[in-house]
Symmetry: C2
Subunit: 205 residues, 2 copies
DNA sequence: GTCTATATAGTGATAGAC
DNA sequence: GTCTATCACTATATAGAC
């Protein structure tokens, strides 16, 4: 039996279920059952299911943006910088493998979530500045002839595609090809190495 | 007013709604409303919602495998081969931009769909042979020193990641950055070029 | 703070009239 | 082949007792 306050327990169980099943497929009744309380209590603390979801969603998006911000710091060579950034994404996501699918699915299928992302992150000067620093860095490398002439935005999208897809496809890999958890872990580590290699080699001038 | 038979009209509307909203978020009542018939008629023709969905899902998966099969034929240089394959995927998906999200989402969130994929495609000798031909081709190129020593499976996954993600992220791009349809089209064409460049450059020895 | 009970609305599916 | 009517179920949300 957990000793945590109910409000927190509800939220933790809700997060796990939203991650596993998505918003639509998770009911407040199921959350209550797994917590061991009544469905009314879920609504007592969070009023609506949407509200409960939003709190969890916001927290996860913030955490993701923090990782991205930190990954762009440092002044090593550009190759080391790319390697470190990709490594940080993979490490963060290995601790939370269902996060990419959860965030992606909600952003893609629900315009309200995109609106939230736009208002609270994309428009925020903090994040705009961070992207501009990345942009400047890329252009400097290109001026120096150390990097292929590729739009910085493309670099970002390509790294995101390769990283996110690795984790989104995990249920398929697990189901179709892997037998043990260790094999799945090994697949992730392998993709991390190959993606790093592909991107660095692919961005050579 | 459409002159097509009801059975077909129901299926077409259902496909559009499943593509736009996914299986869970689409009700047979909504399908009926948009067709202009009663909900009972949907069940008369297809008995269950699951059954209606499966017919559509199967058809789409088959079409996708056909494109993949055809993309692996030919005996040009490996670079031309990669370029042609990626080009075919993009052309097929530009005519059907919501397909990647639809198929991915259902495969990721529903074990039954993966089971279907496994039984009917992955296990089928036809497709196993096609993959082995691709594998042999890659290894030959590597023997000849024209290609980096990368697992053929990694090449497949990387191309899939980059291609699929381009289309899955479209609603976000549209919402956050693009204003017109033409800009979206241009984004897709741009990514097609950049992905082709990245993969070819990234696979150099 | 936690419960029981319930209002309200929506779902997939079927029976039976025409 | 298409409709109306309805069943059994589940959902979110709230009112009110303790």
């Amino acid at each position: 039996m957990s000793t945590e306050p109910m409000e927190l327990r509800i939220r933790e169980v809700a997060q796990r279920l939203f991650f596993e099943q998505g918003f639509a497929a998770t009911s407040t009744t199921q959350i209550a059952n797994e917590v061991g309380c009544t469905q009314a209590l879920v609504h007592y603390y969070y009023r609506t299911k949407e509200n409960l979801f939003r709190q969890i969603f916001i927290e996860q998006i913030e955490a993701a943006f923090n990782v991205i911000s930190r990954s762009l710091a440092g002044d090593q060579s550009f190759d080391s910088f790319l390697e470190k950034a990709i490594s940080m994404y993979f490490d963060a996501l290995m601790a939370n493998p269902r996060l990419p699918h959860f965030v992606l699915e909600e952003l893609v299928s629900n315009p309200e979530r995109r609106k939230y992302l736009r208002e609270n992150f994309v428009k925020k000067p903090t994040y705009a500045i961070i992207y501009m620093q990345f942009e400047a860095r890329v252009k400097a490398e290109q001026q120096a002839g150390r990097l292929a002439k590729v739009d910085p935005f493309d670099i970002m999208i390509s790294v995101a595609s390769l990283t996110v897809f690795t984790f989104v496809m995990l249920p398929m890999y697990q189901d179709l090809l892997a037998r043990t958890d260790e094999q799945v872990q090994e697949f992730i580590r392998h993709r991390k190495k190959e993606i790093t290699r592909l991107v660095i080699q692919g961005l050579k001038p």
